[in-house]
């Protein structure tokens, strides 16, 4: 019986995204390549090219993270490739896969690496306009209702890693400190901005997934100014 083309394509992609095809030598892969009736050396080259392209996409968003992997880099990337085949051609999607893998697996040095990865991913998402931009416009929300700005991404980190994001080489290793950050875009700004937030405002913003009528609190002293400040910082959106 003739094998369906989709089955053959699936087997081929499984192979081309496998650690064996990407990392092993021609000698190691020759038998498996021959199963497709193709030149195993060329399949190895295809697999390697595709993997390098994927890692370049991940490096676009997570460059500091990759640098900080240090001597663990080769082994870690291989483990990632072997357990996380690419699901999309997108830079952000591949970066999210890598970040999730790192957050789940990293137990090494430096201990603040998961924070760096989460920060870099958030920054890339905001820069690409891919925070929560897909959220549905709640047209039935009352005018004047507020919600967390769809562009804003909130981040809890165990270290204040902002100095090493500025200068990886010169900044001292960050000390442990619970830090609440917001990454967002200001109107007419080309690059994201980062704010450190007090815990109470962080929690407030976390709860503002949906448009909420601020009417009950608006009479409190300073509330209008407070909301205006959050809007100016790109953290809150008002239903117009």
């Amino acid at each position: 019986m003739t094998e369906r083309l989709l089955d053959r394509q699936t087997e081929l992609l499984k192979y081309l995204t496998s650690g064996a095809a990407i990392f092993e030598t021609e000698t190691d892969t020759s038998t498996r390549g021959a199963n497709f009736g193709m030149d195993s050396r060329l399949l190895h080259l295809e697999a390697r090219f595709s993997h390098e392209k994927r890692m370049a996409k991940i490096g676009w968003a997570l460059s500091r993270t990759l640098d900080l992997l240090g001597t663990a880099r080769s082994k870690f990337i291989r483990d990632f490739a072997e357990t996380n085949p690419p699901l999309s051609i997108g830079r952000l999607e591949n970066s999210r896969q890598f970040c999730s893998f790192l957050l789940a697996r990293w137990g090494g040095d430096p201990p603040y690496l998961p924070d760096v990865a989460a920060f870099e991913l958030a920054y890339a998402e905001v820069h690409a306009g891919d925070g929560r931009m897909g959220v549905i416009n709640a047209t039935d929300a009352p005018l004047g209702a507020i919600r967390r700005h769809p562009r804003a991404v909130l981040l809890r980190t165990n270290y204040d890693i902002r100095p090493i994001m500025e200068d990886l080489v010169a900044a001292p290793p960050p000390a442990p400190r619970d830090t609440r950050l917001a990454v967002t875009m200001l109107p007419d700004s080309a690059d994201p901005v980062v704010f450190e937030l007090p815990e109470n405002i962080f929690v407030l913003l976390e709860g503002l997934d949906e448009f909420t009528d601020p009417g009950t609190t608006e009479d409190e002293p300073g509330m209008k100014l407070f909301i205006a400040d959050l809007v100016a910082r790109g953290l809150v959106e008002i239903r117009q």
Binding site: L5, F36, H44, F49, K57, P85, L87, I89, H127, M133
Partner: protein, 280 residues
């Protein structure tokens, strides 16, 4: 000397080149927008592309359709692309005759299909479906490949011609891909060009790649990296192709080294002049 409209000359648009492209807009007659980049771009990058509408013709190019996957088309994706095509008022929409993904795996590299009549029939049905859902002509692009399927029994040109003749779809002739396949696999590029019906190529691509040397390879391989000047061999193929093909546009695919892009644009016009004569 040949007659007919001269092809428009342009480059591929990328957000990182936006400022440079705007500053040099009068050097180009067309821009190629990658619809998949538009799709995932933020508001600002989308607005920058939409701002170009009316200033210069835009043509739409895709990398994410995977028309060759042996499964149903992704209609949700296609409808998003159709909306982008309308939004940027693209003159055509091109995609690669290739597959990049199956459920659960997305390689991100263009892979060849078995060149058989059965596979062509499957692609023909999809092309017809695409044509019914988009508002502009659909073009298929020839790819470069590292390997071929053992059951392929049609030549590259026969495979493309079969699909294009059955569907009326045009060809986006990537000269660099043809040049690479000739070098890597011994395909006769002139025989390929001779086998194409006159007028089939509606658009063309030019680019420059790198040579890959590995101890496990019997010969160096050329790879399509869009990172170097267009090689002489590709210019010669372009000139040969232009005698029988009258594309609407020719795009230089390069996204760095802007001075070299402009050099290639200038040289492209020289090559067009040699076939069409100097512009009046």
């Amino acid at each position: 000397m040949t007659t007919g409209a001269r092809p428009l000359v342009g480059v591929g648009y990328r957000s990182i080149l936006d400022e440079w492209i705007r500053n040099n807009l009068n050097r180009f007659e067309v821009l190629e927008v990658t619809v998949d980049n538009f799709k995932v771009g933020g508001e600002a990058s989308q607005a920058a592309i939409v701002d170009l509408v009316g200033q210069i013709p835009l043509t739409a190019h895709g990398i994410g359709l995977s028309i060759g996957t042996d499964g149903p088309l992704d209609f949700a994706y296609l409808d998003e692309i159709a909306a982008i095509i309308d939004r940027v008022r693209a003159t055509a929409y091109s995609e690669h005759l290739a597959f990049t993904q199956v459920p659960g795996y997305s390689l991100g590299n263009l892979l060849p299909l078995p060149s058989t009549e059965a596979v062509a029939e499957s692609v023909i049905a999809k092309v017809r479906c695409i044509q019914s859902r988009i508002s502009v002509p659909f073009l298929l692009e020839n790819i470069t490949y590292l390997f071929q399927w053992p059951d392929s029994d049609l030549s590259d040109a026969e495979f493309l011609n079969l699909i294009c003749s059955e569907t009326g779809s045009g060809l986006l002739l990537d000269i660099e891909n043809l040049y690479l396949n000739a070098s890597n696999h011994g395909v006769d590029p002139y025989a390929f060009l001779d086998a194409l019906p006159p007028g089939l190529a509606k658009e063309m691509h030019l680019a420059g790649g790198v040579t890959v040397r590995e101890s496990f390879l019997e010969q160096p391989f050329l790879a399509d990296s869009h990172s170097h000047r267009v090689p002489d061999g590709a210019w010669d193929l372009l000139e040969y192709a232009l005698v029988r093909q009258k594309p609407h546009s020719i795009i230089i695919e390069r996204f760095d080294a802007v001075d070299e892009i402009l050099d290639d644009v200038t040289h492209l016009r020289t090559r067009i002049d040699r076939v069409f004569g100097a512009p009046a």
